[in-house]
């Protein structure tokens, strides 16, 4: 009488969600799916791996260590840190056509560009052309923020330690040195060149640097990095940009030049070559090595055998595992199939 069929106010909602009965897809890692899946993945990976491996094989890399540790090395004379601006020449021979477009890298090893303090030691505001930070560099740059009470521009360890060896490549044709045109443009990130790094809009550029001093390791100030081309001078000098992007690992290469135009656009023909190096950068103190690398690239970038091999290994592992699983399946009978 009192308690009729009235709906109780406490009664919970009867929805699929509150009753935990939402429709659901219930996948399961059953043999029926996994074995064919593994076979497919394995085959695809092997395919990719073969392609990568073959491509990688087709890439030629020529590495020349010019640190000058050995006495026979042409640059041995330059390895003494007291000698500045030491020129040395490395000769090498190419047997077959070194197909282009070719890229010239410099490589440093045992060089920790990823030291925390080192990689943070720069003032991005200054590098974006803010004149206020020319006068007062950020604290991050310490100890390379002031030199003799003058602000250093560009400040910081990383800028200070910019790689300053230079290379010239000559093709020796019948005793004459035929210079190979090296292109220093387009070696840095587009965004670094166009957005992140800016010269102050002062003309001439030199005036912006009044009252400042160059980094102590630099032979010349930033506005003289490439006096020939204002678009490659100052902070937007591409060598500078490349250097400023700190490498991830202690052994690294950085792009130096491209051989993409002129008569060697198609590659370096077989013959003798001579690389003239202005040896400035000291690396032996910290057991570093310097080298020059010539390399061409493919659709997947530079030479990288690891990726291809990894794909091959994983792909075959997948196939093997699918066979193992098939055996297990035959032996144990998967429960869902019995």
């Amino acid at each position: 009488m009192v308690k009729e069929e009235e709906e109780s106010p406490n009664r919970p909602d009867n929805t699929a969600f509150t009753q935990q009965r939402l429709p659901a897809w219930q996948p399961m890692l059953s043999a029926g799916i996994v074995i064919p899946g593994f076979v497919v993945i394995g085959l695809v990976f092997i395919g990719i791996g073969v392609a990568l491996f073959v491509t990688s094989r087709s890439i030629t890399v020529l590495e020349i260590d010019y640190t000058g540790v050995d006495k026979d090395s042409p640059c041995f004379k330059c390895s003494d840190p007291d000698i500045k601006n030491c020129p040395c020449t490395v000769d090498f021979t190419i047997d077959t056509l070194f197909e282009g477009p070719l890229f010239l890298y410099y490589g440093l090893s045992n060089y920790f560009q990823n030291y925390r303090k080192y990689s943070a030691s720069k003032d991005l505001t200054q590098l974006s052309g803010d004149l206020a930070n020319f006068k007062a560099p950020s604290d991050d740059c310490y100890p390379y923020d002031y030199s003799a009470q003058k602000p250093i521009v560009p400040c910081g360890s990383i800028a200070n330690s910019m790689f300053n060896d230079t290379f010239k490549l000559f093709h020796m044709v019948k005793g004459t040195k035929n210079p190979v045109a090296l292109d220093g443009k387009g070696i840095a990130w587009w965004t670094d060149y166009n957005v992140k790094f800016r010269n102050p809009s002062v003309n001439p550029l030199k005036d912006a640097f009044n009252g400042t001093t160059k980094p102590p390791f630099w032979p010349k100030p930033a506005y003289e990095l490439d006096p020939t081309d204002p678009a490659n001078n100052g902070f937007i000098n591409q060598d500078f940009l490349v250097w400023m992007r700190a490498a991830a690992l202690p052994n690294f290469r950085k792009l130096y030049r491209r051989i993409s135009e002129g008569e060697y656009e198609k590659g370096l023909p077989a013959g003798n070559y001579s690389l003239e190096i202005a040896y400035n950068y000291p690396v032996l103190k910290f057991e570093g090595r310097k080298k020059v690398v010539f390399s061409n690239v493919s659709w997947m970038g530079g030479k990288n055998e690891f990726l291809g091999i990894a794909y091959l290994v994983i792909g075959s592992l997948c196939v093997v595992m699918s066979i193992v699983m098939l055996i297990v399946y035959a032996k144990f009978k998967f429960p869902e199939e019995d």
């Binding site: 009664r11 890692l29 303090k117």
Partner: protein
Amino acid sequence: MDFTLLRNIIRRFCVGEEDWPDSRTVYIGHKEPPPGAEAYIPQRYPDNRIVSSKYTFWNFVPKNLFEQFRRIANFYFLVIFLVQLIIDTPTSPVTSGLPLFFVITVTAIKQGYEDWLRHKADCSINECPVDMVQQGKVVRTQSHKLRVGDIVVVREDETFPCDLILLSASRQDGTCFVTTTSLDGESSHKTYYAVPDTLAFRTEQEVDSLHAIIECEQPQPDLYKFVGRINIYKDNEEPVARPLGAENLLLRGATLKNTQRIYAVAVYTGMETKMALNYQSKSQKRSAVEKSMNAFLIVYLCILISKAVINTVLKYAWQWSPDRDEPGYNHRTENERQRHVVIRAFTDFLAFMVLFNYIIPVSMYVTVEMQKFLGSYFIMWDEEMFDDELGEGAQVNTSDLNEELGQVEYVFTDKTGTLTENNMEFIECCVDGNVYVPHAICNGQILSAASSIDMIDSSPGGYRREHEDLFFRALCLCHTVQVKEEETVDGIKRGIHQGRPTSFYISSSPDEVALVEGMKRLGYTYLRLKDNFMEILNKDDEIERFQLLHVLNFDSVRRRMSVIVKSSSGEYLLFCKGADSSIFPRVVSGKVEQVKARVEQNAVEGLRTLCVAYRRLSESEYEEVCHQLTDAKLALQDREQKLAQAYDTIERDFVLLGATAVEDRLQEKAADTIESLHKAGMKVWVLTGDKMETAAATCYASKLFRRSTQILELTKKRTEEQSLHDVLFELNRTVLRQRSISGLSVDCIDFGLIIDGATLSAVLKPNPEGAGHGNYREIFLDICRNCSAVLCCRMAPLQKAQIVKLIKASKEHPITLAIGDGANDVSMILEAHVGIGIMGKEGRQAARNSDYAIPKFKHLKKMLLVHGHYYYIRIAELVQYFFYKNVCFIFPQFLYQFFCGFSQQPLYDTAYLTLYNISFTSLPILLYSLVEQHVSMDTLKRDPSLYRDIAKNSLLRWPVFLYWTCLGVFDAVIFFFGAYFLFDNTTFTSNGQLMTTNTQMMFGNWTFGTLVFTVLVFTVTLKLALDTHHWTWINHFVIWGSLLFYVIFSLLWGGIIWPFLNYQRMYYVFMQMLSSGPAWLSIILLITVSLLPDVIKKVLCRAMCPTATERAQGHERLSRGGGAESTPHSSRRSYKGTSRDSSHLHLGAAETLSLRTSDPLPQKLLAHLGGGGRADLCSLSPYMLRLSGAGFAYCAPGPETSV
């Protein structure tokens, strides 16, 4: 003199509250005590202001911050944040400061808002108008201005403003009715009494003229306890002292009902009211998962510290040569150079700690808390656990223990009201061995009272006649039943269909109602209690009046109650009814043998029996009794003890009258539930205060014991014959022998143990013979361990808790669950790991003190097997996954230190470090932990054995944890070295054809980190996707959504030069990376490699040694695939396959078999027997048992049982 004051002050302020006076003295109406009254200690009482708010405007910020930083996660963040602020660390303080600030602010705003609401609520309560009597007039004042000693007027339907002692009510008899719904949820009306000397006051003037003081105990939170004394001073007379008990105390929060107006005096005000004291929450229970979580955390903390130490040591070893320490391109500052090497090393250590601090999954705590809080709604929302009759569903009082529901190994259940309905029906009574059965309701027709008595053994005789009369009167008088005449009363009601259709018997004990109603059907109707006279309508329709002099209330230790009445002929009679064990020893005459035989017979049938006895008191004896009782009742200290003593001396020298039998039906599906619990591997113990025979019958009916169960008895009866020592050893031998045999043979017996309270206390008593200390306990535990079911009868409430404690402390440390419905179960509910209250008929104490409250026992099945299982699976994955994903996250950063000269260079960008746990990987796991269902609900219910798969915290054991951690390390190594080999010594360059302006850029360290991070986020999320078995649209949305969010965030984060940020190291890094073909290829490769071992492991494990759960998944899949053909055999088969110990296996199979074959038999018998429309299997279970016993005998020929 002065010294006492000083001492008081010192005591008050120095020693603390414990040393306060034990009692307080309240001056009613603030009248000075008359001269000559004993000196008293003035006490200050708080005003009646209720302060539920935690903060004031001024202390909000410091107090809230303090509260928040007491939480370990916040504190950890704070420490890291401070370290980051103080020393030069690799990551900016923002990485820990921002989340910390966010969490703190959000929590503070939420708590501030809640507190503001509380302030508002407090305000409205404190300012609500209250009428009080001052100088003979009613004055309206505000609630918070009430003081102890004020006289208050409360009208019908008003709520009491503080704890009051009732002085007088508008009802003639000085009673008033009260509901305490808001206090304890009981909606029944309770009666409160005024002191006889004051109940006649009708006007304010009269009340104001009262000159009295109240002495009472200091406030304490127990709602049902109060001791006090009122001293009333009348002109030139000795003061009169009256006892005050809980029945005189009106509690704040309760509501006055059915009474126009009362006068009452305030004794406890404001924060000292019992309601306010009950705000304080109970002690926290912690779940096993939480414990292992903390253990894992300590391991990770060790890993963190050792990582930092390793890196620091290696750093200094590696930097031993100065060129490495300070290469020419990276000069140190002057400051650093001058710092002592120890300080430098310590700073480095701290910096490493900061760098790796993310390995501690701090956000796990927040997520776990959210998961528990939100997840508990699924219990409350569950429609299957909603009871229409009660109009209530399951309640969650602590969401902290959700997953513990999936870990239960021992279930301790109360019998009455838990296994049974607590819906009593009077069956028969016997007077001196003559049995009376009321057949009042027969085929739906109500027969007249006179013809209903069916005397089985009718040998007339004057002696018998006299006893019969006394017996029926005893049952009509010896109770605390009230008669309700209105129908507005909710709660327990039983219609009386004769005469007054609108009156009900109400009592807190259904037994009493059943008895009084049974008496009515036998012709003796209890009419009412009026002016202390109980009126009975006897068989000849005459009204008999008895003066009620004393009630010796029932308590579960004494297990009996008595009344002392004065008949109209002036005789003093003491009637007592109680459990046979507590009556028989006190009986001096009467047909003990016959009654005993009948009682035992009834008990075997599962009926609840009570014995009735009486004692005639002479005038002088009565005076003596009266004196004893008043003394005890007036005591302020140890009142309970003194009362018990008094009761003990009064209740003796009985003449036995007879016994009653009341049936309590089994609850719906109780047997099914117990069976499921057994199959799920839980051991079920029934703890009851009932007789052994009654309890054993119920246990058989509820399938706790089966016919095949070998019963071991450990009862007083046996220990009287043999020494306890021998019995214990003999039982132990039996059990052990069986176990060693069953190791080989197919046949196996399961044991059931019956133990009673007396023997139990003997077992638990420390052995006096020094050497064997605790020996019995161990043997007893050993026996228990081998019994699938244990029945403990004749238990006192505290013993129930003792048993739970004993099992809890045994060496396996099993997880216990206690379930009960009454106040006597509260102690065990509080003691057990999980306490479940049944919203029963005996009030709400159990439900209030429990962690979870359910309407019926049958809901326990879903609660444990479905909800518990899900919660455990979910939280286990949550915990493991959190540790896993943080290993994956931080281990590459650890490895990177080896390649950056241990310079603490972070691998990932600040934004990634900050957001990884907060947003990139948090939602999928939270959602998983809310909605995952690895097998369907129906499967879980159908196949309880799946519960065994997760027993003993199996998903959070060390090997599993190790597996997850190793997987994390493996994945981290793959991520890092995968990226390393791509970067190292190769020209990892982007493709000139894709973006014509970019040709041969090198990637820097941030690209390296971003590559690792991208692989990490995808792998970790996909790992969860692989683990998800239940893909609802929400899962799809959250998993793919969070991956998409990561990509979009990275594009945005790198796409813009963010103002106000002094670095742009991530500028275009993500886009540059994506523009490179090898990056894509390596991301795909690394994700695949990382996931591969886990997939292979899963597939192989599933094939080679599938768990029951995996089999169930397979079956589910098959049945889904094969259409509607669901396989009822599947559960049994999987059961067979999974149980690794063979004893369970065979048990299970045998049991299923015996059940199948035997089921139809009792049904048929029942139909035969029941006839009168009672075909319900449960209701007749005791009969069924007896009858079907023979049928079982050849079905499952087990060893003889000893019952």
